[in-house]
């Protein structure tokens, strides 16, 4: 063992010596690895970043949440026309469910509509207006920058109160806080009673609370659309993540009763969970990952072939040197280690440079797209470049180690 370490150290020194002696060639060789490692790290960083953003966005839904809906969000088993023909969920369904359900921690109906919002002469278009009850806040983890959610009283009384998302608030009130102001949703005046904290994920798009305005659900029916016009969604929060399944089972049972389904009929509603979204996203990201790593892997492969090529040339060029080394007592294994070490050191240097470039680039890219440089990437770069070095260096090194000293010494 001690002997082996000694040999490793000595061959490292010899390798550094040889690399320094052939600066230009070594630099050219590292180029392939630099490009390979840069692309691998950059790609994995980007994928990680996108993944993180998705996970964050999805987990903002809450892992304990169920959504009873006319539509299955991520299910492709049920044909869409079948779902389309389902009877809308209405407030009646919600009220019955709420009466019967024992397990959930909180239940709230929601309905969406799209309206223009105005404050004085400022306009914001295409905002999701979420009609819901006071209980909605208990089905989420939302926090407030200022103010509060509307209360039971305001919600039952269909008072003109609203809670606005962070982005909406910034657009309507760029300079100050909108709390207490009156905004116009459509043509109806609403008082702002709460402004939400930034939730900060771009993934959920319009469903991101940052881009929403919440008002009592009865206001939606009163001012904007009839109760039966669109289906509502019932948000259900389980007390904890272990009870999600039980809450789900209970919900299915109650909803079947409420909807008057007989034994032979299929559910005419769907229970959605973030799991469904997660698995869809994970599948997509998995595909991106495989495709991305395959392409960057190719770049690395080309780099590895470059190294192997150069190492073969190097062995040929230094045949005489190998002969001399063998004549004065270098064992086959020593020569093998020396050349593998040389390839590994070249690759490692390339890997480090590539990592540096990748980190710099991802910092630049991060201003437009989410990226995440992590310890993983560093380890990935080191492992990949070392592995490439050892693998691509092996064949040339083996050739070198098997040279006949007599022939090698005679080589011109």
């Amino acid at each position: 063992m001690k002997n082996f370490l000694f040999e490793l150290k000595e061959s490292l020194l010899i390798a550094l010596y040889a690399i320094r002696a052939n600066k230009v060639r070594s630099m050219l060789t590292t180029l392939g690895i630099i490009i390979g490692v840069t692309s691998v790290v950059l790609m994995s960083t980007a994928i990680k970043g996108i993944d993180n953003a998705f996970q964050e966005g999805v987990s903002s839904l809450g892992s304990d949440n169920l959504y009873i809906d006319k539509w299955a969000w991520f299910n492709n088993d049920i044909p869409w026309w079948e779902m389309r023909n389902r009877k809308n969920l209405d407030m009646d369904d919600y009220n019955k469910y709420e009466d019967l359900a024992k397990l959930p921690a909180a239940i709230a109906p929601t309905i969406w509509t799209n309206k223009k919002i105005k404050f004085k002469e400022r306009n914001v278009e295409g905002i999701m207006i979420s009609g819901t009850t006071y209980n909605y806040i208990n089905t989420t983890n939302l926090t407030f920058e200022s103010g509060r959610f509307f209360n039971d009283f305001e919600s039952r009384g269909a008072r003109n109160v609203s809670v606005i998302g962070y982005t909406v608030a910034k657009q309507l009130f760029p300079l100050g806080n909108g709390l207490g102001q009156e905004i116009k949703i459509g043509d109806v005046k609403f008082k702002v009673v709460g402004v939400l904290d930034e939730q900060g994920s771009w993934v959920m798009g319009n469903f991101n609370p940052d881009n929403q305005v919440f008002i009592p659900i009865d206001c939606v029916f009163k001012y904007f659309q009839g109760e039966k016009f669109r289906s509502i969604t019932i948000n259900v929060r389980a007390p904890n993540s272990t009870s999600v399944e039980a809450v789900k089972e209970e919900a299915i049972g109650i909803m079947r009763r409420v909807r008057g389904l007989s034994y032979s009929e299929d559910n005419d509603f769907s229970i959605n969970q973030q799991d469904g979204l997660l698995s869809t996203i994970n599948q997509t990201i998995g595909v991106i990952q495989i495709a991305g790593l395959f392409i960057t892997g190719l770049a690395l492969f080309v780099g590895a072939i470059g190294i192997m090529n150069i190492m073969f040339v190097s062995v040929k060029e230094r045949t005489r040197e190998i002969g001399v080394r063998k004549a004065i007592g270098a064992k086959n294994r020593t020569i093998l280690t020396q050349f593998i070490m040389e390839a590994a050191v070249i690759c490692l240097m390339g890997g480090m440079i590539g990592l540096g470039i990748a980190v710099t680039l991802s910092m630049i890219v991060n201003q437009y797209l989410p990226t995440a440089v992590q310890a993983d990437s560093v380890i990935l770069a080191v492992v990949i470049s070392l592995l490439t070095g050892v693998l691509s260096g092996f064949a040339p090194a083996y050739t070198a180690s098997k040279l006949d000293p007599v022939e090698a010494l005679r080589y011109e």
Binding site: N3, K326, K331, V406
Partner: protein, 238 residues
């Protein structure tokens, strides 16, 4: 006491369908602190013999006994170890590592012997001082004259304190005057108690040795003591 005993050694190469007998049947002994020259025209087998004596190659037939060890059936690694510990090579073309300085070149065999860095630096320095190159320690081969390069090579051969020094045409690439300086150095090494085998085709170089073994067509033609061997006069090395 004999360091080298070879008995009925043959080396046969297969060239196409034909067998080439580079060495047909060679036997000889070389004792401790002997100074032997091996001579012969080209094609006589002297290079092959030198490769076998230097443990760079193994004979097809026969026994090679080195210090009581049978070398003829050793594998690559065992041969490498013998070369490292017991044999110091001096080549016609010096064969120094071109990009390493004199010190590193001399250190190299000690690296392969597994000697720790500080100790081998000291030993290498000592060897360079012995050949009069204490002022050229950090010069690379291309910054040294031919004679100086050969002296670095000799220092490298001596640094492991081997049983024999094997010199293959050591003056072949040098002018006469420098060649003489190298022969003076060899003589000193010999007088210090080392065993030297000198392969040459020049009579006046061979006459520095105590004994000349002449080869022809793969056989020993003559093996005789040199009367009045030529002892070169010591001169200041430069």
């Amino acid at each position: 006491m004999n360091i080298i005993t070879i008995e009925h050694i043959a080396k046969i190469y297969q060239v196409g369908t034909e067998e080439v007998h580079a060495l047909a049947d060679v036997s000889m002994t070389i004792g401790k602190n002997e100074y032997v020259a091996i001579m012969g025209p080209s094609g006589s087998g002297k290079s092959t013999l030198m490769n076998i004596l230097g443990c760079l190659d193994t004979p097809t037939k026969g026994i090679y006994d080195f210090n009581g060890v049978n070398v003829s059936e050793m594998n690559d690694n065992e041969l490498a170890a013998i070369r490292n510990k017991e044999i110091g090579f001096v080549f016609q073309t010096f064969n120094l590592l071109p990009r390493s300085n004199a010190l590193h070149n001399v250190e190299l065999p000690l690296i392969y012997a597994g000697m720790p860095s500080s100790e081998r630096k000291e030993r290498a320095m000592e060897a360079l001082i012995n050949v009069g190159l204490e002022n050229r320690v950090y010069h690379r081969p291309n910054e040294l004259s031919g004679g100086q390069r050969q002296r670095v090579a000799i220092a490298r051969a001596l640094v492991t304190r081997p049983s024999i020094i094997l010199a293959d045409e050591p003056t072949g690439n040098l002018d006469t005057k420098t060649g003489q300086e190298i022969m003076i150095l060899f003589n000193e090494i010999y007088e210090a108690g080392n065993t030297i085998i000198l392969v040459t085709h020049e009579e006046y170089i061979a006459e520095h040795a105590e004994r000349i073994i002449r080869l022809r067509d793969g056989f020993v033609e003559k093996n005789e003591k040199v009367e009045n061997r030529f002892i070169p006069q010591k001169r200041e090395l430069h």
